[in-house]
């Protein structure tokens, strides 16, 4: 689960991770008020969006407006907020349709001496949380990682003890951070790593992380992704979810316990198991088709879930055919067959439906489909299924 910058910064504040004073605003008036409350002679106004690349992004409705802007008066703040709120911001990460901005964040300015990059992730290879810091702040970190990986410094830490001071000293030495700035770095990094572990983050990224002219380390941006599997112990964090940022079909699927990802093709897929679902997409492509989605109905799928899965697939107007690929383990082929029959009564299949069943109760399942009188194209194996579904729309 991702959250907005302003929400991440509220969490930073509660863990004492240093940030600048700031306020969220949902109207132009609130933005002007926020500017006055900050009380300085300049502020930064930032569109709140889960996607990155806001600074270089522009709005569809107001092409001159960027996603991040320096403002020097309450009036400027109000105008910028009016340009942003309710409009769609296009960044390198949103796609050409852009993403609707519903709130902005106003933050104090500060005098920057240095810009750095910082991220914390869980390193799968080492099976430990990993702090990464780079002297190349403010730029695209993927580029740094690809071109000059030696510029990214790495320190693993044990979640039980957190990041140790000696680790920060090592980083500061290599980054040439000294004196009060090094002290500030120790406090900042250790608090952030504590937050990472305590809140079950899967990623925390700060770009840029700055050192001010008065030697303070401060998070100018804040991105956090939480481990979905750990949300059961953070009921308060669930409240931070912004459903406007999510693909409606994916949200609907998640509510039914289905794992769904929308893609650009025209062949809908309904599969049990994540690996098999990916492989089914792959084989469609291999035989010249294009999958419209990834959909894993899970191991113990019941009739209601499968029916809902069909509804979600058919709600996509691009879908011209459907491929059902089930290898029954826990999920029984008879359950899937019944669901196909039920779904056809309810939603009706106006597009070709290719079904490949294998595994638990396969013969009974196939028999149910044969006797249902439905116009189903039955397939014997994966290749047969992929070829038939591609041919059905050729």
């Amino acid at each position: 689960m991702k959250i907005h910058e302003y929400q991440a910064k509220e969490l930073f504040r509660s863990f004492q991770v240093p940030i600048l004073q700031g306020f969220v605003a949902r109207t132009a008036q609130e933005a002007a008020d926020a500017y006055r409350k900050l009380g300085g002679d300049l502020a930064v106004i930032k569109a709140q969006l889960h996607a990155g690349g806001r600074g270089k992004g522009t709005f569809i409705e107001v092409p001159t407006q960027r996603g991040v802007q320096l403002v020097r008066s309450a009036e400027d703040a109000s105008v910028a907020a009016k340009n942003m709120i309710g409009n769609r911001l296009v960044t390198v990460q949103t796609g050409t349709a852009g993403s609707m901005v519903n709130q902005v964040y106003l933050e104090q300015g500060c005098k920057i001496a240095r810009e750095l990059y910082l991220a914390v992730v869980v390193d799968r290879a080492e099976k430990l949380p990993l702090l990464m810091v780079s002297s190349e702040g403010g730029v695209e970190i993927e580029k740094v990682a690809a071109e000059t990986p030696e510029k990214i410094l790495r320190e693993h830490f044990d979640p039980a003890h957190g990041l140790m001071s000696y680790q920060v000293r090592k980083l500061c030495k290599k980054l040439n951070i000294q004196g009060n700035a090094a002290k500030s770095a120790d406090f900042f990094m250790r608090k952030l790593c504590e937050l990472f572990v305590r809140l079950d983050c899967s990623m925390a990224e700060i770009n840029p992380l700055v050192i001010t002219e008065d030697d303070k380390m401060i998070a100018l941006d804040a991105k956090i992704t939480f481990d979905d599997n750990a949300m059961f112990r953070h009921p308060d964090l669930k409240e931070l979810r912004d459903i406007h940022e999510e693909e409606p079909a994916e949200l609907r699927a998640a509510n039914s316990g289905l794992s769904f990802v929308k893609l650009d093709g025209n062949i809908g897929c309904l599969v049990n198991g994540a690996g098999l679902a990916m492989a089914t997409m792959d084989i469609i492509k291999y035989h010249g088709g294009a999958p419209a989605n990834f959909l894993d109905v899970g191991g113990g799928a019941n009739t209601q879930q499968v029916t809902e899965a069909f509804r979600i697939i058919l709600a996509d107007p691009n879908v011209k055919a459907i491929l059902v690929n089930i290898f029954g383990g826990i999920a029984r082929c008879t359950t899937i067959a019944q669901a196909i029959i039920d779904a056809s009564k309810e939603v009706g299949f106006e597009v070709p439906l290719v079904v490949r069943l294998e595994g638990t109760e396969v013969e009974e399942g196939k028999k149910m489909l044969r006797e249902s009188g439905l116009a189903i194209i039955s397939a014997d194996d994966l290749t047969d299924a992929a070829k038939k579904v591609v041919a059905s729309i050729a």
Binding site: A125, A279, F327, G329, E358, L382
Partner: protein, 292 residues
């Protein structure tokens, strides 16, 4: 021979009184697995499928001589259940549960690493030595005793591979479901090491997926340490970056973990890579042929 489990393996189920635990205990028992008991705190004295239920794993081991466990407890309690099994000296721990927080696994992995136990999973279908012992949720009947060692990060895709190798009359020595999470107890390399030493295993099939660099590391290991023929398949060639494909671990981040990178690393190590999931069995046969 086989790896991890055989006809002498004595298995308990942690979470045996739950719906999934009871259902799959029955399935394993029917397959012929030596199921000897189960554990659910507070339910000692009850029986499930005719098997005794104990409060603690320690007690279950003492009473039944169990040396393997199959874990079905809910995600908030899975770490605790795994650590209890380690503490009781269980040799093979299969955690089937899906949805364990990754930070929990950091601690669990650290403890398991320093113990004599092997952890398979979490979020995995389990492990099976056909005709001898099935621990987990896979449909038993698709398997056939034979020569292919199979390991995978995905459940149903493993069934697909098993089915294909059974249809080709190659059969399987042991099939290991590693699990789809970012941190799991057993890696491809751990299993390669065992298959390499196992007499029954003549050829090895690795089924990977996008995300992380486990497949690349395994390719490096194969190049240096594995003399047996190896075939592979990587799922997710068509997956877009930044989207989690069902498994927490199956996500391409920062341009890393793509299928293309993995396939080229595998091919460079002399591994036969199946171009489509329908050709995993043929890739295994091809790997065998190339060695004559």
């Amino acid at each position: 021979m086989s790896i991890f489990v055989n006809s002498d393996t004595r298995v308990i189920c942690q979470g045996i009184t739950g719906k999934a635990g009871a259902f799959h205990t029955k399935g394993c028992k029917e397959y012929g697995t030596k199921m000897v008991g189960g554990v659910t705190p507070g339910k000692s004295g009850e029986t499930v499928e005719g098997l005794p239920v104990f409060d603690t794993v320690e007690e279950a081991v003492k009473q039944t001589g169990a040396n393997a466990t199959m874990i079905f407890v809910p995600p908030p309690f899975t770490a605790d259940a795994i650590l209890e099994a380690v503490d009781a000296g269980i040799e093979v721990i299969c955690a089937i549960t899906e949805g364990v927080p990754v930070i929990d696994m950091v601690h669990v992995y650290d403890v398991v690493k320093r113990s004599k136990s092997v952890l398979i999973g979490p979020n995995c279908p389990g492990v099976i030595t056909p005709g001898q012992c099935k621990i987990g949720i896979m449909p038993g009947y698709i398997h056939q005793p034979g020569k292919v060692g199979i390991m995978s990060r995905s459940g149903t895709l493993t069934y697909e591979a098993v089915w294909q190798t059974s249809n080709l009359k190659l059969g399987q020595s042991t099939c290991v479901g590693l699990g789809g999470d970012p941190i799991v107890g057993t890696s491809f390399i751990d299993v390669f090491e065992r298959f390499q030493q196992d007499d029954q295993t003549e050829v090895i099939l690795m089924i990977g997926e996008i995300g992380g660099d486990a497949e690349e590391k395994a390719a490096e290991y194969v190049r240096n340490h594995v003399t047996k023929p190896v075939a592979a398949f990587i799922a997710g060639r068509t997956a877009p970056p930044g989207k989690r494909m069902g498994h927490a671990g199956a996500i391409i981040t920062g341009g890393k973990g793509t299928a293309a990178e993995k396939v080229s690393a595998l091919e460079a190590a002399g591994i036969v890579v199946a171009p489509s999931p329908a050709e995993m069995g043929q890739a295994v046969a091809e790997a065998l042929r190339r060695r004559g």
